[in-house]
Amino acid sequence: MASEEVARDVLQRTFVKGGRYRQAVIVLAAVFLLGVVGFILKLGQDRTQWGYYAATFSYLFTVAQTAPVVSVAMRLAKNHWRRPLARASELFAVVGLFNLLLFIPLLILLPSIEGRNTIWILGVWPSRFYTPHIFDTLMLVGLVVLGLLFLWTAAVPDFAAARDQRGGQGRYAFLAMGWQGTVRQWRVQRALLGLLGGLYFMDVLTTHFLIASDFSMGLVPGWVDSIYPAFHAITGLQAAVAVTIVTMFLLRTVGGYREYLPMESFWGLSKILLALSLMWFYFWWSAFITFWYGRMPVEQNIVQLIMFGPYRPFFVTAFLFCCIFAIGLLIWNPLRKSPAALAAIATMILVGGFFDRMRLYVSSWSLATTTDHTLTTVPAAIWPQVPDLLVIAGGLAGAVLVYLLATRIVPVMSIWEMKELRLYQVPRQLVRRRMLSLGKPD
């Protein structure tokens, strides 16, 4: 497909949405409203009952707000198969806005840090109303803003294409910010992408650190686990790659982008997914073996609380889906070469990821007192009630809805990157074999 046709084709898919799109939006909106109902039902419940809500927020943060990192990291690696999936992963930054909304009740519910272990070692500073609530909020808001800026910067050339197609006026003229495609503008855009991407990556890791420490570990007395923020981040990266794969698959089959998304993109991401699934095991095992071997009573109780005790079904599901089955299936080349199989495995990982968040957040929120010195008893499991299930469904549906609505404004396939790809790829012949010459940009 020639370069000019790329712009026309993608823009047409962006602005003209079919019946299935409308149906999906309606269904998702309905489920989201059910979620709101569930939320209202939960108002007035004790903090210990809000674990499932916290798990949903954390899950959406883990999956959606970490997803742009896939684009950032692949951009750093300078490979070409990232181009079709770049925008799809960057677009997840808009779900961050939805997640900010979900964050507000958690801020209200979070108890003060006085009397318990916390990463805020300077204590309540400047006042008990600020630590850690305002710092966590600033970090999360900063992350959302950075993500949106990153998305905008990456999409500016495509907004310019849309503006030109519509005769140079309208909201795309504003979004395109006067883009003409001069050499200087391209250079500035590249530098900005590098800077914003790097900042976003660092911010995501820091936010994982804050969310994991303040909203989960800090609520359990005696839980000191230095790898937990890193585990939280790695599971986030794994979920980010998985959701990118699922999105790519849906774009390929339902979205009509089949010829933009060749097997190479899936193949490249599949290797990373395998590596991250192995790391899931590695990071979990590091925590488990250190706690288990030491035989300290408080650490044995922590292991019971978050792994093998009342939430064992959640943990076993997460472990099997995200780790054992994922690794066992992803090592087979034929499975990695098939987009459908890969999408199925990625969906399994996403489901497992949610169970993982549940076992971590429901368990940590279920403790009534956070100010003991150590964890002496492990409370019984809190199983989800109807309002909890509604909230979970509503949260997930809301996130998907926001993404879908965003695809009406921002093209989900990066036009300029696909055009660039056509410039960088030239078929060649080496002796008797057909090869592709891939340009290596500096």
């Binding site: 272990n117 990463i119 000191v224 890193a230 590091s286 030491g294 090869m435 290596k440």
Partner: protein, 457 residues
Amino acid sequence: MQDRRTLTDIQVNETLTNTVLKTPLLWYVIVAFMGGIVLLGVLAVGLLVNLGQGLNGYNRPVMWAFFLTNMVFWIGISHAGVMLSAILRLAQAEFRRPATRAAEVLTVFALATAGLMPIVHLGRLWRAYWVFPYDFSRGIWPDIRSQAVWDPHAISTYLIGSSLFIFVALIPDLAVLRDRTTGIVHSIYTLLALGWRGTVRQWRLQAIAGIILSALLLPVFVSVHSIVSWDFSMLIGVPSWHTTIFAPYFVIGAVHSGVAGVITVMILMRWLFGWHDYIRREHIDSLGRLLFVVALAWFFFFMLEFMFGLYHQEGTEMVVRELWLFHAPWNAIFVIFILTAFIIPVPLWLFRSVRRSFPLMFFTTILVNIGMWLERFLLIIPGLMRKQPFTFSWGEYAPSVFEIIIITATFALVATMILLFARAFPLIPLGDAKEARVLRDEIRIGRRTVQAVLREE
């Protein structure tokens, strides 16, 4: 911007085998000097065996010190080999080509040296073999719960795996040497080359073997240093060690220190053997970029470890961090460590001109390894000095001259072994260098010419 000359196959062969067939005089001088230091180290170990571990600086409670620090350091350096060879091979990154064999060789010799360290610090090192599960007459097996049993097995596995890796990749080069030597040396190379003729089938098997070995070695690489880290983190006697992050923290620190070590070795090779056409600016540029990302990841883990040391805000973990920050000489060592391991080199690597400069990369990578050695030191010894709240049992530590000699001798040992290896085998894979030329291409986009690489469709 990639600066290369077009070279023929014969030129490639001649230049890269010059260490074997036309060894410079400087080589003999350096080997003699390093060998002398190694002999001094052997003498020191002999005295230790004869007179006792009392010659060293340890005491109660600091029962492990320089030797364990050195062991962790050398295992760290050894991680570069697998990182570069296996991962970059699987990712098909072009910039790995001159680095793979040097990295693998550094791995093997660093590992062998690291394996010597825990033996040297034993009370009865002549009985060290009791950690292996043989049972000839006693009915006693080693205790599989002990990290000191996992360590030697893991290190041996890694050593054997890496040696196999080097050997398999070496076969085509051994054939080149076979065809250029005579006499006894020729017979040895003939034996080692295993009948390599360069047929299509043999090359295909070679490529498959490389991929399988890379995939098999990757879990070994991660697990070896994790097992070494569990020497510390699974213990409860030392609270500042008992933290869950040690495994990935040690591994990423190892990659940091190892890749820096490989860059150092490559720049030395380029200077010593005149391989200016094979080790080019683009290689250290790309390796520098990799190092930058790894260093950031390392810093993230370091901050996690530090933060969670302070999490309890009470107890001996706080005292250890206090030692790092407020008490001389520990705070001086801490400042030197953080400056050399991160603050000086990493911002420099942001700049392309730094990454493409051989002297600057040499300087910064040496700084990194100084810092990483000090990091291991700061991790192990202050923790032991301030183990538990019983202040009556707190201790101090100062190294003895024997420890300093033996540590220096390990550096000399690794250098000597690499140089001896270079005397017999080429340190850059000839096949890789030639393959790079075959796969090289150029694309014209508008008025610009962009370098490209040929890939199968």
